[in-house]
Symmetry: C2
C-alpha cells in the first residue's frame, strides 16, 4: 500500500455507497456491518468517502448511526470524511463531529427541490449563507460543498435550464460555499450536455468546481464520466456494486459503479490509488450483506483484460 499512499492519484474516486447507496435501500444495516464496509473501502485505497448524512433519522433511518460512522472514519489516517447535510441543523451536527467536508444538495429543479428538501432553490442559497456564518463563527476547518442536483434534467419537472444551474452556482459561491459539484441525480445527462455544462460552470466557478456525480440509470454513466474528465474534472462520486439512488426521484437508481469506474481509469493509465482486487473482494461482501438488492457493474463478471494483469492495476507511476 505504500506506493499508493505516498502518491497523489490522477483521479479521485469518492465512494458514496454508505450514504447515497444505503439511503435508497429500505433495509437498515447494523452499524457493525457499516463499520466493516467503511474499513473495506479504506483498505481498498479510497481516501475520500461520503459516510452518511445528518438528516432526521425519522426520514432516513438507514443513516441514523452517521455520528458513529463518522467517529470511526475520523480515526482512519489520511481519510477525507464527508457527510451530506440538508440544512443548518445538519451542518451544526456535522461541525460537532468534525467532518472534513459537508455536502449540501441544492436541486436546480424547483420541483425536485421542493420534494427533496421542502425548500425552493433560493431558500437553499439562503441556508448556505447561514451555514457559512456558523462555520466562520466556529472557525472550523470543515469545508462546504454544494452539490447542484438534477443539474441535467428532472424526473418531476423535465428540463432544467443551464442558465438556472449557472445562476445557482454563482449564488452559492457568493453565499459562502467552498466548492461545487454537478449531479445528474436522475440519469438524464448525455455526454455533450455534460461537456457543455461543466465547461460553462468552470467559467463561473473555476477550480471550485471539483466533482461529477453521475447515475447510470440509462447506461451513459461512464460515457458521461469521460466527457467530464475531458473538461478537466478529476474527482467522481461512485458506489461500490453500483447501488444507490434518490428516493424522491423516481427511476434514479444506481450511482456509477465504482469498480467499473476504477477499471476505466486504470485502463487509461490514470491512477486512483485503489487496489482492484480488494475492491472486488469488498463488492462480494457487500452483495452478501445486501442480498436480494439490485447491483450493477460489468468488470466484476468479465475480469481484468489479460493486458492489465501483468502489472499491478494500482501503479501510481502510470498517472497521466
Amino acid at each position: 500500500m505504500s506506493a499508493q499512499d505516498t502518491q497523489t492519484p490522477a483521479v479521485v474516486v469518492r465512494d458514496v455507497s454508505l450514504r447515497d447507496g444505503l439511503q435508497n435501500i429500505a433495509r437498515v444495516l447494523p452499524t457493525e456491518t457499516k463499520l466493516e464496509w467503511l474499513q473495506g473501502l479504506y483498505d481498498a485505497g479510497f481516501r475520500e468517502l461520503e459516510v452518511g448524512s445528518f438528516v432526521p433519522p425519522k426520514l432516513v433511518p438507514q443513516l441514523a448511526d452517521t455520528a458513529q460512522i463518522v467517529a470511526a472514519a475520523r480515526k482512519l489516517p489520511g481519510l477525507h470524511v464527508s457527510v451530506l447535510i440538508p440544512n443548518l441543523k445538519g451542518a451544526t451536527l456535522a461541525l460537532e463531529q468534525g467532518v472534513d467536508l459537508m455536502l449540501l444538495p441544492l436541486s436546480a429543479s424547483h420541483a425536485h427541490s421542493l420534494a427533496n428538501l421542502r425548500k425552493a432553490p433560493d431558500d437553499v442559497v439562503q441556508e448556505v449563507g447561514r451555514i457559512r456564518a456558523e462555520m466562520d463563527a466556529a472557525g472550523t476547518k470543515t469545508a462546504l460543498e454544494v452539490g447542484i442536483s438534477t443539474a441535467f434534467g428532472c424526473t418531476i419537472q423535465g428540463k432544467v435550464e443551464p442558465q438556472e444551474v449557472l445562476r445557482l452556482v454563482k449564488a452559492v459561491l457568493d453565499a459562502g460555499a467552498d466548492q461545487v459539484s454537478l449531479a445528474d441525480t436522475v440519469g438524464y445527462a448525455d455526454p455533450r450536455q455534460i461537456r457543455s455544462m461543466f465547461e460553462q460552470v468552470r467559467e463561473v466557478a473555476g477550480e471550485r468546481l471539483v466533482c461529477g456525480h453521475f447515475h447510470d440509470t440509462r447506461g451513459l454513466g461512464l460515457a458521461n464520466v469521460m466527457a467530464a474528465l475531458d473538461t478537466g474534472i478529476h474527482r467522481f462520486d461512485a458506489c461500490v456494486a453500483g447501488i444507490g439512488g434518490c428516493p424522491h426521484a423516481p427511476g434514479a437508481s444506481g450511482n456509477v459503479n465504482a469498480e467499473d469506474l476504477v477499471y476505466l481509469m486504470h485502463s487509461m493509465g490514470l491512477s486512483t490509488g485503489i487496489d482492484f482486487d480488494r475492491l472486488l473482494a469488498l463488492r462480494a461482501r457487500i452483495t452478501q450483506w445486501l442480498e436480494g438488492e439490485c447491483f450493477q457493474g460489468a468488470i466484476w463478471k468479465a475480469g481484468l483484460p489479460k493486458t492489465m494483469l501483468a502489472e499491478p492495476a494500482t501503479a501510481g507511476a502510470a498517472a497521466a
Copy 2:
C-alpha cells in the same frame, strides 16, 4: 417513416444481431423467425444490416440459412445488406447472392487469427487480393470491408501492437479492400486507446475507415463509442438486446447494445433514422425468441427521460 427515409442520419447504427448476435448463441432459430427479426429491424428504421455469414454450416449451423435471409433482405427497399465472409469461397457465395457489402475479418492478433480463421494475418491479406481479383473479374458493385478484429488486445495473445494494426490496415487496402473497420472483439479497449488508434488508422486509411465495432464486455462500450465519434467515426455496429460475441474469444460476450447506442445518439441530438419505440418492441420479441439467453442494456428498463418524450426521438432535423 417518410421524414427519416428522406434524410441522411447523422450516425449510422449497423445492426449485426443476425450475424454476430446469433453466431454466439447455441440454439438454431427457424428461418421464419429470423425473417421476422429482419423485418423488425427494417421497420424500426435500420438501413444497414449484417444479416449472416457464408461460413461452412458445419461450423456455424445457426447461420446456415444466410442465403435465404440475404434474398429476403435484398427485397427491402433502400436496405444495405452485408454478410461476413471468412475467405474467397465465402466471397464467391456472397457475390452470387448480390450482397452490398462483404465483411472479411482479419485478426491483428496472430494467435486469434489462427484460432478464428486458421490463417495467419498475412495469409488473410493474401486472401483479400484473391477476393479483389474475383470481384474485379465479375465486375461487381459489391464492396469489400476488412474488419480488423482484436485490434485493441486479445484474450489469447494479450497485447496487440498498434503498429501491427496499422501495417495490416495498409496491407489490406493495398490488396484491394474498399474500406476498413476496427473491432474490439474481446472488450479490452479503453477510450484513450480507441481515440489514439482511430486517429492513427485515419491517417493511413482516410475516409476508408468507416466503422467501429465494440463489445461491452467490461462496461466501456458506449464510452468507447463516444471516443471514436470524437475522431469522426459515424458508423457503429451494435446488436439489439446486446446479444453477441465470438465463440473463439473467451469472455467476448455482448456487442454494444443497439437500444442504448441509439438512445445515446438521440440524447445528443444526433439522428439515426431509427424509431425508438419500434426498436424496443423488437427487443421485447427477440427476448422471447431467445428466452433464457443473456441480454444487456439499460434504456429498455429505465425508459426515455421526460426531456425526450415531448418530441419524437427519430427527429432527423435534430442532426448535428
